[in-house]
């Protein structure tokens, strides 16, 4: 069991204080691809800043229990002022926890069921954001490898590097931004509404 975190701000071209202000003003968005045994979970957190979406966090969860993963998500969401997170709800791993109201508030209403249609839409969104230079990713070799794992049929083989997890978490983070582009976290308390 392990959690591997890369959290950086220094790759965003910003004057001192600008990033803190942007986080407080607009909040960050997150995408979470859930795994546990066969493949890892990956969380990506992005910040809208000066017309671009900058990734601030790339986090890998290896064989962690779901409750421990959610506990870590809550901490990261609070630290990076995440206002909304889209996550893969296809297999219903978090359904029981969701019914018990134990999901972080930022994840409420963010479940996305992966169908061929929704996968095409998410993948297309990721491609466009990368091609147009809208999304700027962190330098995480494992994430890079994981994104390249997904082939043109939107399938990925199982390997040590995972199962294309970072491809989907980043696509989901973009989806979270698309669904909630304008939101002021200063007016919002996690867990209420959502």
């Amino acid at each position: 069991m392990s959690i591997e975190k890369i959290i950086r701000f220094d790759h965003v071209p910003a004057a001192p204080g600008e990033l803190d202000a942007a986080r407080s003003e607009w909040g960050t968005r997150a995408g979470f691809d859930i795994g546990k045994r066969v493949h890892p979970s990956h969380l990506s957190i992005i910040l809208p800043f000066k017309g671009r979406l900058h990734q601030l966090a790339s986090v890998w969860f290896e064989n962690e229990p779901y409750t421990a993963q959610l506990c870590e998500l809550e901490k990261l969401f609070a630290e990076l002022q995440t206002v909304f997170c889209c996550w893969d709800s296809t297999r219903g791993e978090l359904e029981a926890l969701s019914e018990q109201g134990r999901l972080p508030g930022q994840m409420m209403g963010g479940g996305v069921v992966f169908t061929q249609e929704s996968k095409q839409r998410l993948a297309g969104g990721l491609y466009m954001a990368l091609e147009q230079g809208e999304l700027v990713l962190l330098d995480d070799p494992r994430q890079e490898q994981s994104i390249l794992q997904v082939n043109n049929s939107l399938k990925a083989g199982e390997s040590e590097a995972g199962h294309g997890d970072a491809f989907w978490s980043n696509a989901l983070a973009l989806e979270a931004y698309r669904k909630l582009p304008f939101f002021r976290p200063t007016c919002w308390v996690p867990g209420e509404g959502g």
């Binding site: 220094d10 900058h54 990368l130 399938k155 040590e160």
Partner: protein, 307 residues
């Protein structure tokens, strides 16, 4: 009576020890056999000369000694090196040395390449190299021109068969598995393909080891990220030597053959992408990734260490 029986037993035991010593020191013709030498000595003093007799004069390759030492002391050894570094030649030397050192009973080796044809080609070459040596070592070639090695002498037998990685080879057991560049680049278009190759290695090839003395020697050049070479490199059971054509300090790794001018020429000839994979050992992304590798690289923020 008991004393006589005890003395007889004693004499019998001493006789067995003496017989074993004689057997170990003599070949089938009763001549004193070869002294045991290290693999690196064998490669330098006997094998490369035999190779040169077939291939023509060879440029000295100082890196082979270190590789040979690594293979000798590790049961599972891997050489990840650039094209033309003589890693396949060294693998042949490992087989030749196993033949030289084998004394009694059956010794079985399998030589794996990406395809059966390629494995056959390598064994045909090896046969040419060791033709004069095997006779000196008291072996008789028991084949009739086939592309496999089968040598015999009283009380001992040695075989080395060619095999393609995708062939079904369940059922056989081997003392030595030699795996030479087993992945076919044309079959590595996606991660599903990578997994198939890796599964062949994990489920069909490596379980063929005969016992806890059986060895595996692997040599390869990375083709795409996450391929069989990267699995071997990450596997803690394998001890790996990695040699790109240009060292981290910018010096050519094998100056005698590939100096800077020659490497530049090769880079221009095959293109930068291929050169980085084949000579600098930088694996490229699978061919049909949804997100193109170059596009992804452009989207990654590069910041200096400690920035």
């Amino acid at each position: 009576m008991i004393a006589v029986a005890s003395k007889l037993n004693d004499l019998r035991e001493r006789a067995v020890v003496l017989c074993n010593e004689i057997e170990n020191d003599a070949d089938s013709n009763g001549n004193l056999s070869l002294h045991k030498i290290s693999l690196s000595e064998f490669i330098a003093s006997e094998f490369m000369q035999a190779v040169a007799a077939v291939e023509g004069e060879l440029v000295p390759a100082p890196h082979l000694g270190g590789w040979a030492d690594l293979i000798e002391i590790n049961r599972f050894a891997a050489l990840i090196a650039f094209r033309g570094s003589l890693k396949s030649t060294l693998l042949k030397g490992v087989i030749a040395n196993a033949l030289r050192e084998h004394r009694r009973g059956a010794f079985d080796a399998i030589f794996y390449s990406a395809k059966m044809d390629l494995a056959r080609w390598h064994l045909r070459r090896l046969k040419l190299y060791i033709e004069p040596l095997a006779a000196q070592w008291g072996w008789r070639d028991a084949t009739a021109g086939e592309a496999l090695l089968r040598y015999e002498r009283p009380g001992a037998m040695f075989t080395c068969e060619p095999e393609g990685l995708d062939a079904a080879s369940r059922g056989r057991r081997a003392d030595l598995l030699v795996i030479d560049d087993p992945a076919d680049p044309r079959k590595l278009a996606s991660f599903a393909d990578l997994d198939r190759v890796l599964e062949s290695l994990q489920r069909r090839v490596l379980p063929l080891l005969k016992d806890n003395q059986a060895r595996v020697v692997f040599a390869g050049t990375p083709i795409v990220a996450g391929d069989i070479v990267s699995w071997i490199e990450k596997n803690p059971e394998f001890v790996t030597a990695r040699l790109p054509a240009i060292l981290s300090d910018g010096r050519p790794a094998w100056l005698e053959k590939y100096d800077k001018t020659e490497l530049d020429r090769i880079r221009k000839l095959i293109g930068d992408k291929s050169f980085r994979a084949e000579y600098l050992l930088e694996a490229v992304a699978p061919l049909d990734s949804y997100i193109d590798s170059a596009l992804l690289k452009r989207a990654i923020a590069r910041v200096g260490v400690g920035a």
